[in-house]
């Protein structure tokens, strides 16, 4: 029983670093450039894990623990998602709260690691990160509320499992709205355009990149990998809401899941190639729009 979810989880972890590459490559191709190879992040990770680190003079143990907590929380959150639509490694009533709580703990650790350097740039990035997340969190809960209302289940494995397939026809409009909101949240949570631009080179305009300015070597690698897995998790959520994986035969679900992740990554790339980054004070509006979509989904189910 535990083997299936574990294998799916390992599969997702293995392909996760390809997703940012896929998004970047899509963006490059659509804007008439060749772009970096899709598998670039694997090479970067291998290189970073071989390198030595440089620590800022002002940092403490918080700086060293931060990346580890980031990666541990993302992995623990992944264990709660029913990636193949059948079962999760660990599932209990209300585990969606644990899912968001774990991502929150990762953010807590990352932000404090940034503030540990005493740099004004990293303080600025940290401030932006928590501001964005403050608007993203209610939207995420509204999306999950749509799933709760549609299926009547309180655990992620339940609401994304077989029950979802049964209620899909009736709740389709709400679920599509929730999936759209989740996609917008994926852009915000993994620092992509239009909330943040991973390709920018000016520290004053960064959000995520500027928090990790002082991280290097394996610690930077852990953060990059954690972020890639986070994108994969949100991709899996979007896929899980749109495609009732629980209904498909077991051998097919990993294939559909990978296809879904690929589509989400390409979608991120398409968004990046046809949109500019929003001004910082517009970002809350973008996230409120995501909340509004989810609210419509909730209203459709509550009436």
């Amino acid at each position: 029983m535990i083997i299936g979810p574990l294998l799916t989880l390992l599969l997702v972890l293995a392909v996760a670093p390809a997703l940012p590459g896929l998004a970047t490559r899509t963006r490059a191709l659509l804007t008439g450039r060749r772009g970096a190879p899709v598998l670039q992040l694997y090479r970067d990770l291998a290189r970073l894990f071989r390198k030595n680190v440089v620590y800022s003079r002002s940092t403490t143990a918080v700086f060293r623990i931060g990346p580890v907590v980031v990666i541990a929380t993302v992995l623990a959150a992944a264990a709660l998602l029913p990636l193949d639509g059948h079962a999760a490694l660990l599932s209990f009533s209300g585990d969606l709260v644990a899912f968001t709580g774990l991502l929150g703990l990762g953010r807590f650790a990352l932000v404090l690691a940034g503030l540990d350097t005493g740099s004004s740039f990293e303080g600025m990035g940290a401030s932006r990160e928590v501001t964005v997340s403050a608007f993203a969190e209610p939207a995420l809960f509204l999306c999950l509320t749509v799933l709760v209302l549609a299926t009547g289940e309180l655990s992620l494995a339940g609401m994304l499992g077989e029950r979802l397939a049964a209620v899909w026809p009736g709740a389709a409009p709400s679920l599509v709205l929730a999936a759209a909101a989740l996609f917008m949240l994926a852009l915000a949570e993994t620092s992509r355009v239009p909330v943040d631009d991973p390709a920018t080179h000016l520290e004053l305009t960064m959000i995520h990149e500027v928090i990790v300015l002082d991280h290097s070597g394996p610690e930077l690698g852990m953060i990059l990998f954690g972020n890639a897995v986070k994108l994969a998790l949100f991709g899996a959520l979007v896929t899980g809401v749109l495609v009732p994986l629980g209904q498909l035969p077991r051998w097919l679900t990993p294939v559909v899941l990978l296809a879904g992740l690929g589509v989400v990554a390409v979608g991120v790339g398409i968004v990046e190639s046809c949109m500019a980054r929003l001004r910082m004070n517009r970002v809350p509006q973008f996230l409120v729009a995501a909340s509004a979509l989810a609210v419509f989904g909730v209203i459709l189910l509550l009436r």
């Binding site: 009533s93 209300g94 709580g101 990293e122």
Partner: protein
């Protein structure tokens, strides 16, 4: 009950020891701490016994004015007794170290004695089982807290905070007297059992009682918009007293609401929606206002408003579940509220003690003047960090356990299909509260403990961790936060039993379900797995770096100048982006000219509504003062007018009857 009596006697002994032996400070401190810990241990043991057996411990009654004075412990009282004595003992011990610095210029013994009186008042409130002793204990608690708030009474700000507090706490008492009057319309006596017998209170009187309870207990708990006495009072008191005021004393408001519901039975839906609405507003606004604060203790005090909001949210869902016949929802809501009451007591007192340690070490409370304390006060930083993660509600600490339960109640209400399903929007609100709390505590931890000091005088002795007498309570409370977070089943079981015992909704069907035990154990697995993974990764990281020497360099200045402590991001700038999104609700006033910038914080309720209303009242009064002209004929005219009006009224009333 005899154990509780023993605990009270031991606590009295602690207070007496501190006061009578004050000429020999060391002996007095030792006697005070020993007797306080002994008394708390005996009381906690008795409370645990009551919780385990679920039985009512024998009551103690005496015949005094105002009907029988009945005291006794039932599971609900015992649950609230745990934080009173537990946190009270930790904070009292901390207080010995904290006030030790002031022994030279302040009567420290009196403060220790008053602290004991406050604890006894709290014990009295939760163990009183009749109206008159309840109100008597309530007043003892309120007045001793006032005297403790006035500890540093030479400061005008402290006196003002005390005045606001004592005025409002009496407003609360007044509302409670009215509430008990409404409850006893048809009652045969004034003990709680007689009040609750058969729920014979007529419907209209019941609504009045519930409304007055909302004012009286809501005021005590610090719910918006009756919260504005709280930040001033809690910031003015000595830190160990703030820990008890914020962590424990606010909770007697919650206790009162639970007790009232056990007396009047299932409340109507409007009461549930009122609690839900007040909870949501308190939660969101409390944390937004906290984010705007510059003063460490005021920030923590506003977070109490937020946490009371979360508790009321859970209670509101519970009441709605009862009113609409959804026992499972009711059970989750009430259980979540009870759990958060206990958890908030633990982590909020921990944070206030941490703030006290920082204040003692640096002499500062303004967040933007501090920084880099983690390096010289590692233990305080660790304890404060644990408290921060707990209060944000993140796994694997205790705050998560209670927020998880409240969330389940909110989501389950949505899935129920009854009219209470609209309560599901509370889940998004609670999510917002959590994310804002995360912003607030990363601001606090990052500014206080990380980076560099913002006000260090070159060559000055660095701040240091406090001594064992102050550290031990903090570390004990941290340990409890972790223990509850890792083993939620230990607190879920008694909390569920209490809710069942209240006999307001949760019937056997919902209680008999055992799935919650497996769920609680899975939370344990999740927390254990997370901690194990963090440890393993740290070890792997260590092993990976073996042999290589990490280079140490200045913080990367983005190809610019090397950053100085003054260039660090301040707490105010950190919060500014988020506060700007909330506009005037956030209560920040920014004044800027070409070369200056100043931001100050106001409380939108106190400074925006209460004070203007008060000034209007005073102005109207000034105008009416003209009547008192001192001329005899004018007074005679007034007397005649009054007589005529009375006669007119009496004839009217006489005709009507």
């Amino acid at each position: 009950m005899s154990q509780l009596l023993l605990a009270v006697v031991l606590l009295l002994g602690a207070g007496a020891g501190a006061v009578l032996l004050s000429r020999w400070p060391r002996l007095a401190d030792r006697a005070y701490v020993t007797l306080l810990l002994a008394g708390a241990a005996v009381g906690v043991a008795e409370a645990v016994l009551v919780l385990r057996s679920g039985a009512v411990s024998a009551t103690l009654s005496g015949s005094l004015p105002g009907g029988p004075w009945v005291f006794g412990l039932d599971p609900l009282s015992a649950w609230f007794l745990l934080p009173i004595l537990g946190v009270g003992a930790a904070a009292g011990t901390f207080g010995v170290g904290y006030l030790g610095f002031e022994r030279g210029h302040r009567p420290v013994a009196a403060t220790h004695g008053l602290f004991i009186v406050l604890l006894l008042g709290l014990v009295g409130v939760v163990s009183a089982q009749a109206v008159v002793p309840f109100l008597a204990a309530w007043e003892i608690m309120a007045i001793s807290a006032y005297l403790l708030v006035m500890h540093e009474h030479e400061q005008a700000e402290v006196r003002r905070a005390g005045l606001v507090y004592i005025t409002l706490t009496h407003l609360s008492t007044l509302a409670l007297i009215g509430m008990f009057a409404a409850l006893s319309v048809n009652a045969t006596g004034r003990s709680f059992t007689e009040l609750g017998l058969g729920n014979q209170t007529p419907g209209s009187a019941r609504s009045v009682a519930l409304g007055l309870a909302l004012v009286g207990f809501g005021l005590k708990a610090g719910a918006v918009p009756l919260h504005f006495w709280l930040p001033g009072a809690h910031a003015a008191a000595p830190s160990h007293v703030s820990a008890v005021l914020s962590g424990v004393m606010l909770k007697v408001g919650i206790y009162g609401l639970f007790r009232l519901m056990s007396l009047v039975g299932a409340p109507p839906p409007w009461f549930g929606w009122a609690l839900f609405g007040v909870g949501l507003v308190s939660g969101v606004l409390g944390v937004v206002w906290a984010l705007a604060q510059h003063d460490l203790k005021r920030l923590l005090a506003y977070h109490s408003v937020e946490n009371i909001g979360i508790i009321l949210l859970g209670m509101g869902v519970g009441v709605l579940g009862v009113a609409h016949g959804q026992p499972a929802v009711a059970l989750l809501g009430f259980t979540g509220a009870l759990l958060h009451t206990l958890n908030h007591a633990l982590f909020k007192s921990l944070l206030f003690l941490g703030a006290g340690a920082v204040y003692r070490a640096t002499g500062r409370r303004i967040i933007d003047q501090l920084g880099g304390l983690g390096r010289c006060m590692p233990w305080t930083a660790l304890a404060f960090g644990v408290g921060s993660i707990a209060i944000v509600g993140l796994p694997p600490l205790n705050g998560f356990v209670s927020e998880w339960t409240v969330f389940q109640g909110l989501l389950a209400s949505g899935a129920s299909g009854e009219p209470l399903r609209y309560a599901v929007v509370g889940a998004a609100g609670l999510g917002l509260i959590g994310a804002l709390a995360l912003a607030c505590f990363t601001k606090l931890d990052g500014t206080l403990f990380l980076g560099h000091s913002r006000s260090a005088v070159p060559g000055a002795r660095p701040a240091r961790d406090p001594g064992a007498v102050m550290l031990a309570p903090m570390l004990t409370l941290s340990g409890l936060c972790l223990a509850i977070g890792m083993l939620p089943v230990a607190v879920l079981r008694p909390a569920r039993l209490i809710v069942a015992g209240l006999a307001i909704g949760a019937d056997g069907g919902a209680l008999a379900a055992t799935a919650w035990q497996a769920d609680a154990m899975r939370v344990t697995v999740l927390g254990g797995g997370l901690l194990a993974m963090i440890l393993l990764l740290l070890m792997a990281r260590h092993w990976l770096a073996a042999g290589a020497v990490a280079r140490v360099a200045p913080t990367w200045g983005c190809a610019g100048a090397v950053s100085t402590p003054r260039m660090q991001y301040t707490a105010s700038s950190y919060a500014a982006l988020l506060l700007a999104a909330f506009g005037p609700l956030a209560g920040t006033h920014i004044s800027r000219t070409a070369d200056t910038f100043h931001s100050s914080v106001v409380d939108p309720v106190q400074d925006g509504a209460v004070l203007p209303a008060w000034r209007l009242l005073c102005r109207t009064g000034d105008r009416l003062r003209g009547i008192q002209g001192g001329r005899l004929r004018w007074y005679l005219l007034l007397v005649i007018f009054t007589l005529v009006a009375l006669l007119f009224y009496l004839t009217k009333a006489g005709r009507a009857s």
